[in-house]
């Protein structure tokens, strides 16, 4: 996995899609996971879903043509990206703690 930094929106979208979910479900899940802090707007979410589909990090589940009900799920590549991001976040947290808290 290349050394990439995920945006907060992408991070929470991937995390939400560990279980199959449609667009509105992702918005609600991201908001609840972040205790109401992350509010994904529809336009931002739509663009991110399309980019993630193109990248192969998420997949649209078959069977639903109506885009209102279409469900998505994370792929193996998406999980790898999330895991790499967790390592990066851990490094940020540890460095921050070490320097600020001594």
């Amino acid at each position: 996995m290349a050394n990439v930094t995920l945006t907060e929106a992408v991070y929470y979208i991937l995390l939400s899609l560990v279980e199959p979910m449609h667009g509105y479900g992702i918005m609600q899940k991201a908001e609840s996971l972040s205790n109401g802090r992350v509010k994904l707007a529809a336009g931002t979410l739509y663009g991110a879903i399309n980019s993630l589909l193109e990248k192969g990090w998420i997949t649209a589940l078959p069977g639903e043509k109506d885009s209102r009900k279409k469900e998505y799920q994370i792929t193996q590549e998406g999980r790898q990206a999330l895991e790499a991001e967790l390592l990066r976040l851990k490094e940020l947290l540890e460095n921050g703690k070490r320097i600020l808290e001594g």
């Binding site: 945006t7 994904l40 707007a41 336009g43 979410l45 739509y46 209102r68 009900k69």
Partner: protein, 182 residues
């Protein structure tokens, strides 16, 4: 009861238009349809709705635009209407904040779309207008016959260039902020 208000906004002032529509909704006048400089409202509870507008990437009837509108509606927003490539949504204020974009990247992409549109229209008007005026001068028409539509094109081009500059300033400010924050 329905109320029609005639008002014009320059494309580059779309955020002012959105602000005005939200002020109207806060007063109890909720947008129900849009046309060329024409806004139709109906009575609603003051502050019942929040309004958002956005420029589409493709024509409104394009399959991609239809999919997008369906997607936004699936998040609890209501598609009020479409004017040219602009779509208008409303959402109950009780559902919380309402915005089309929640990060710098998508806001910048949206602005770039508007910049490309306004910039190209301005450039086309400047080129056509200048061409027509030069031709009129080269053919030594009397001053009274000077190509007025050419002058009008140039005026539109200059105005649009001003709009493009305003949008570029807005975009560059967002870009600078995006270097520091997410």
């Amino acid at each position: 009861m329905r109320h029609v208000v005639r008002k014009l906004f320059w494309v580059w002032n779309y955020d002012k238009e959105e602000k005005w529509l939200n002020e109207m909704a806060a007063k109890g006048l909720c947008l129900i349809s849009v046309g060329y400089g024409k806004f139709e409202f109906e009575d609603c509870d003051p502050g019942e709705y929040r309004i958002c507008l956005q420029m589409l990437e493709k024509r409104p009837r394009h399959i991609e635009s239809r999919r997008y509108i369906e997607f936004v509606e699936s998040t609890g927003a209501e598609h009020i209407g479409t004017f040219a490539r602009w779509i208008y949504f409303r959402k109950k204020a009780t559902d919380g904040d309402f915005a089309m974009f929640s990060d710098y990247d998508s806001r910048i992409k949206h602005l770039n779309r508007i910049i490309t549109f306004v910039g190209l229209v301005s450039l086309a008007n400047l080129l056509i207008g200048t061409g027509n005026v030069i031709r009129a001068i080269a053919n030594a028409y009397p001053i009274a016959d000077l190509n007025y539509s050419g002058l009008l094109n140039i005026a539109i081009g200059i105005l649009g260039s001003f709009g493009t500059w305003r949008l570029l300033k807005k975009r560059n400010k967002l870009k600078a902020e995006s270097q520091l924050f997410e």
